[in-house]
């Protein structure tokens, strides 16, 4: 389990949307830029780690009950994405790390892979 606060701290990330409880704990991580893959995951309490910054990233998370999205490689969420995320109580985070480095750090601090 990893606290949102630890994700922010270890990755030097920013919470850009969502008034989430920083003590909330996340158990699993799944990294993909392919939303088709994300839609096959039925694990709960998941952080999606992605470099795909478009509306379908938010829609996919909405349908998959994913409450946390971390954008890597300094990808920026648009205002439209932020609005849709807020409407669906999805917390958005951004960081400048590559996906590989972000995953490596998150795994090190206790975030578990789905498979």
């Amino acid at each position: 389990m990893v606290k949102v606060a630890d994700v922010v701290d270890k990755l030097n990330a920013r919470v850009i949307c969502g008034s989430c409880d920083m003590n909330q704990e996340i158990q699993f991580g799944f990294a993909s830029d392919l939303m088709s893959d994300v839609l096959t995951i039925d694990t709960e309490n998941l952080l999606l780690i992605t470099g795909l910054n478009n509306l379908q990233t938010i829609r996919t998370s909405e349908m998959s009950d994913i409450s946390f999205i971390l954008f890597v490689r300094d990808k920026k969420a648009t205002e439209e994405m932020k609005e849709l995320a807020c409407e669906n109580e999805i917390t958005l985070l951004e960081c400048g790390h590559s996906m590989f480095r972000a995953c490596s750090i998150l795994n090190e601090i206790g975030l578990q892979p789905v498979y």
């Binding site: 830029d33 392919l34 939303m35 088709s36 893959d37 994300v38 839609l39 096959t40 039925d42 795909l52 478009n54 509306l55 379908q56 990233t57 829609r59 996919t60 909405e62 349908m63 998959s64 009950d65 439209e80």
Partner: protein, 137 residues
């Protein structure tokens, strides 16, 4: 209860809005969250298919006490070989669709996986109809 939503072909900014409305309705009806997820994932895959491949479409939702039946019908190029389209990895998606994070040939198989019953009929140069049935019990 019946609901009808329209789907615009090619408009990726709206893709998912019909499925999102269905999710809100199912939540209001206190449907089991696991069934909601299975249902809306399959609807969203079907909705994205209409946006990606067809000119226009409709999502017709019929919610009963024991099941939800959704028909997604579109006007579009149709599917010449449904068996081939059902194979994981087979895709005719454009680069634009792939940029959106789709087009890996996983949509139809994932609809099947997330529905209790799935029926698909298609006519080339006319359109495609996908029926998804999920039981609420």
């Amino acid at each position: 209860m019946e609901f009808k939503f329209t789907i615009e072909g090619g408009n990726f900014s709206k893709a998912g809005s019909a499925s999102s409305e269905v999710k809100k309705i199912l939540k209001q009806l206190n449907v089991n969250p696991k069934i909601i997820k299975r249902t809306v994932v399959s609807l969203y895959e079907a909705e994205v298919n209409v946006v990606a491949h067809a000119f226009e479409g409709n999502m017709n939702v019929d919610i009963d006490t024991d099941k939800i039946v959704v028909k997604i019908e579109d006007k579009g190029p149709g599917i010449p070989d449904i068996d081939q389209a059902m194979q994981e990895g087979y895709s005719t998606a454009t680069p634009q669709v792939r940029e959106m994070g789709f087009g890996a040939g996983m949509g139809l198989p994932n609809i099947k996986r997330n529905s209790d019953q799935m029926n698909i009929t298609s006519k080339v140069d006319v359109g495609t109809e996908v029926e998804i049935i999920n039981y609420l019990g």
